[in-house]
């Protein structure tokens, strides 16, 4: 016996009186006023037992047997009809299954008159009535552990229900809490059996930017009433707890790579491309894109994101060298070249660097050579401003050192990188060449001539012989 067919629910009149959980009962028929007149429920509600729909409620002619204007005043009574419901329930089938089980029920079991004496004090059967016998299936009626479809139609099939009725559906405890919104995906596999009782595809599409690609959502039907009821509710994207962790901006890559599909629940490609400029990244490309009239997805305030600490732009060398892939996740090559080969970005050097760069250059505080060719950029500019040697080696520039030429060795060894921004090799070879001039050896005590010759003999021959290209 299927659960759907064999539910041994005792609430014989529940189908006639409405769905579970209703507002205070407004009895259309004054049952209490007729107490004592009707010994059996079946007298008026024969159809409950026979399954004949027309006999579920008494015919008006039945009333006129007493309310004929003589014995009792006339009354206006149009026979009632079943209330719109999403309940899947047949009194007859239920009764049969109960009997087959060797049990018995009475109407009051579900319709809850307090005693046989007060049995006309009927109330609609609520879900609680069902659970008096079926409580073993789940801790409570709205538990996610229950198969709702055992008793209820999916909401899109309960076409009799109005939008107002749908909005009045009871809400499970904690259903609106941010934790539930964050974690409801983990419930797993209940979309059709549980969620579908109240939710159609439109419910999910309010927030999920990847709704069209999720089979669980695709399993749901569509329902314009749900669309109407959620139309004005903005999407909600509570921040998962791990996102709140310090440094999440630069440490989310592992999760993003392992669970890109999870990201896609809330994030479109624009979430990534707000910072990540690697548009060819397959993970980024796998995320959905925003569509008109669709959910917005998480909107990042990228201006407020500080991924790198202060000063990172001049101290990122080791990180860039070790993990270029991480860099390229956010930065296109344009980012690097903007500074490293960047006459287009003069603001990198603030505050008259032309005048003030000498001390930085001597201390190599910023690696000038990582952006500038010493021979071309530095010397080219120094020539333009009259600082560089242009052949003559008089000491006019080094005017604080009267005997500069005779004693510049110490300074040259200590700051040779600075020397070559003004002097070409020819300048120094005028004195430091074995081919002529003063023949002053520039080599220090630790100079390994054999190794230098093995690496580039041509450089040696510039001073020691002639005519060989370096």
């Amino acid at each position: 016996m299927s659960l759907r067919r064999g539910l041994p629910v005792v609430a014989m009149l529940v189908g006639a009186s409405g769905v579970w959980a209703l507002a205070p009962f407004d009895d259309p028929f004054p049952h209490l006023d007729h107490e004592g007149l009707f010994p059996l429920c079946e007298g008026c509600h024969r159809g409950i037992e026979t399954g004949i729909e027309e006999d579920v409620y008494p015919d008006p002619a039945t009333c006129t047997q007493c309310h004929d204007g003589d014995r009792e005043k006339r009354v206006e009574w149009a026979t009632a009809s079943r209330r719109p419901s999403n309940l899947v329930f047949s009194h007859r089938e239920h009764q049969e299954s109960v009997q087959q089980a060797g049990d018995s029920t009475e109407c009051g079991t579900c319709h809850q008159y307090p005693s046989e004496k007060d049995r006309m004090a009927v109330t609609p059967a609520g879900a609680e009535a069902c659970l008096t016998c079926h409580a073993h299936d789940a801790p409570d009626h709205l538990s996610y552990e229950r198969n709702c479809l055992a008793c209820h139609d999916p909401v899109w099939e309960a076409t009799d229900l109005t939008v107002t009725r749908l909005r009045d559906f009871p809400e499970p405890d904690g259903h609106s809490a941010l934790e539930f919104i964050s974690e409801h995906g983990d419930l797993g596999g209940i979309t059709r059996s549980v969620c579908a009782t109240c939710h159609s595809r439109e419910s999910c599409e309010r927030c999920h930017v990847n709704a069209s690609s999720l089979t669980e959502i695709a399993d749901l039907g569509r329902d314009t009433r749900i669309l109407e009821s959620v139309r004005d509710k903005p999407p909600e994207y509570p921040e998962p707890t791990d996102h709140e962790r310090s440094g999440w901006e630069w440490s989310h890559s592992a999760r993003a790579l392992d669970d890109t599909g999870g990201c896609a629940n809330c994030h479109t490609q624009s979430s990534c491309t707000a910072c990540h400029r690697d548009v060819a990244n397959p993970e980024v490309a796998s995320l959905p894109v925003s569509v008109p009239d669709g959910p917005s997805g998480v909107q990042l305030e990228t201006e407020s994101i500080r991924v790198h600490r202060i000063g990172f732009e001049t101290s990122h060398g080791a990180r860039a060298a070790t993990d270029e892939r991480s860099c390229s996740g956010c930065h296109e090559p344009t980012t690097c070249v903007a500074c490293h080969d960047g006459p287009t970005r003069p603001e990198f050097h603030v505050g008259n660097v032309l005048e003030m760069h000498a001390s930085d250059a001597y201390s190599n505080a910023t690696d000038c050579a990582s952006c500038h060719s010493t021979e071309v950029f530095c010397r080219g500019c120094h020539i333009g401003v009259g600082l560089a040697s242009q052949g003559r080696l008089d000491v006019a520039f080094h005017n604080s050192r009267p005997f500069w030429l005779l004693g510049h060795g110490e300074a040259a060894r200590q700051g040779l990188e600075g020397c070559v921004t003004c002097h070409s090799q020819v300048d120094c070879a005028q004195c430091h060449s074995a081919r002529g001039g003063w023949r002053v050896s520039p080599h220090g005590p630790g100079f390994d001539g054999d190794r230098a010759e093995a690496a580039n003999r041509g450089a040696c021959l510039l001073c020691h012989f002639g005519g060989v290209e370096p």
């Binding site: 060819a280 287009t344 500019c381 690496a455 003999r457």
Partner: protein
């Protein structure tokens, strides 16, 4: 063709070609550009002379009546000296165009960046390479999968040895913990985007190479966990006739971090000469969200390519230790950044007839920034850098009004002193300028600055005058999908 024509031609040609091609063949394309202009006013040093009869005293160096230190050679009628000439100016312009194309196929991307240069006003050739009108910085095709990437064309290499480009191919293989890369091709000179045999180097260096070099290299990275990476790189540049090496270098870089501590270590070495060029260890500790403390130690010795004679001059290096602290005052938007360093040079093994040069140096600096309300930002700072070769003191104060969408306007006041390396000159320079940025629509961003400097001559020498005017204007623009990173900031050189 005039300079303006060069620039206009560059802009139109590069943009049209990029946009047209990409529109025709690619699903997605982004064309972005940076158009920049600088106004640079300079007072070059020139040689001047004064009649020896107008100079008092005797000896090789004497002081002229106006304070100039002059050089008088016995028996000549004139003494010579150097002084600043009248101001000359130049307006170098640069046009960069970047094209990124994707969506052609899974993991396929094309990328190119080209540059046009010209001097649009003022002195030609005053600004480096302004007469070199065209450059191709990069142009490559890329095929990428989750575990590997193949790239062919002119491309950049980022490594512990710096940032340079080359013409060739590279293949990278990623595993969860290892990354392997091999690359090679025709070598290009770092910072030039052209071979060492190109005109730029030849124009300034008589002994520039005239044989192109091949570049080969390989890199292995080990990443045991997120935030920790260890990388070793070896690369060499060799003449294509294999007659000599231009460079042969290795680098080792390692980084690791936890929630509060990060460590970085780097080594660069010249394999050919067995020289340790740089060794650096840096530690950073965040005891609280509002406080960061860092220390570092490094050894530095300059690297020279093997085709030069400079390495044979036995340059020495220095050792340096430094520290910095960054503190955000709790409950405020005020940040304080203090840093300092001290370095000491190795023994040169050479003597000086004019006395020893300074063998140590130190640095101390502080920066403070705060926000007033949501829109106003005030920054100030001071530095003192005393070292071998050059020294400086400087301070600044800036005020900026920030608007939405990257728009701002600000003023900046600056004062500095510097000592000139191995020559006599001194003075204080005051600078006052304004800067700003404004977004014009969603895809155009303008950034500009203008600063005037006034040299308050003092001390013993009036030979240098740094009263000058500087300005810059930059236009960042984007065509196509996914606008690129917008420009921020502003300043003057």
């Amino acid at each position: 063709m005039t300079a303006r024509a060069h620039l206009l031609t560059s802009l139109v040609a590069m943009t049209t070609a990029a946009g047209g091609w990409s529109t025709a063949f690619a699903q997605s394309v982004r064309v972005s550009g940076v158009t920049s202009f600088q106004y640079v006013e300079i007072r070059p040093l020139i040689t001047d002379s004064v009649d020896v009869s107008l100079v008092a005293g005797d000896g090789l160096f004497r002081r002229a009546a106006d304070g100039h230190l002059v050089r008088c050679i016995e028996g000549t009628a004139f003494c010579r000296f150097m002084r600043s000439s009248h101001p000359i100016s130049t307006v170098p312009a640069t046009q960069d165009v970047t094209v990124s194309v994707w969506g052609i196929g899974r993991g396929i991307r094309g990328y190119a960046r080209a540059r046009g240069r010209a001097t649009v006003a003022g002195e030609d050739s005053l600004w480096p390479r302004s007469s070199d009108n065209y450059d191709l910085l990069a142009a490559y095709a890329e095929l990428s999968r989750r575990s590997w990437r193949l790239r062919v064309g002119r491309q950049w290499k980022t490594s512990g040895l710096g940032y340079h480009n080359y013409d060739g191919g590279s293949v990278v293989v990623w595993t969860p913990t290892f990354t392997f890369e091999a690359f090679g091709g025709w070598s290009l000179a770092q910072g030039l985007n052209e071979p060492r045999t190109g005109e730029s180097l030849a124009a300034l260096e008589s002994f520039a190479p005239n044989v192109r070099a091949l570049l080969v290299g390989t890199q292995v990275s080990y990443r045991p966990r997120t935030g920790s990476t260890f990388t070793v790189l070896y690369q060499r540049e060799i003449r294509h006739d294999r007659a000599a090496l231009y460079t042969e270098r290795v680098s080792v870089d390692a980084v690791t971090r936890t929630d509060r501590v990060s460590l970085e270590g780097s080594i660069e070495a010249d394999v050919a000469t067995t020289t340790l060029n740089e060794a650096r260890l840096r530690a950073w500790y965040n005891p609280s969200p509002n406080l960061g403390l860092g220390i570092y130690a490094r050894h530095y010795q300059p690297f020279f390519e093997l085709w030069t004679i400079w390495g044979s001059f036995d340059p020495i290096g220095f050792d340096e230790i430094g520290a910095n602290a960054m503190w955000r005052i709790p409950g405020s938007t005020t940040d304080v950044d203090v840093r300092g360093a001290r370095r000491s040079y190795q023994d040169t093994g050479a003597s000086s007839v004019f006395g020893p040069v300074r063998s140590s140096g130190w640095y101390l600096g502080i920066n403070v920034s705060t926000r007033v309300g949501r829109d106003w930002q005030i920054q100030g700072g001071a530095r003192r850098d005393i070292g071998f070769g050059a020294a400086k003191n400087d301070g600044y104060l800036s005020l900026r009004r920030q608007f939405d969408n990257g728009t701002f306007f600000g003023v900046r006041l600056q004062a500095y002193q510097r000592l000139y390396e191995f020559r006599v000159a001194e003075g204080t320079v005051l600078g006052l300028g304004g800067n700003g940025a404004i977004r014009v629509g969603p895809r155009v961003h303008l950034t500009g600055a203008l600063t005037t400097y006034r040299h308050l001559a003092g001390g013993s020498s009036p030979s240098v005058d740094w009263s000058q005017l500087r300005g810059s204007l930059r236009i960042d623009w984007t065509l196509g999908s996914e606008p690129a990173v917008s420009g921020r900031g502003g300043g003057t050189r």
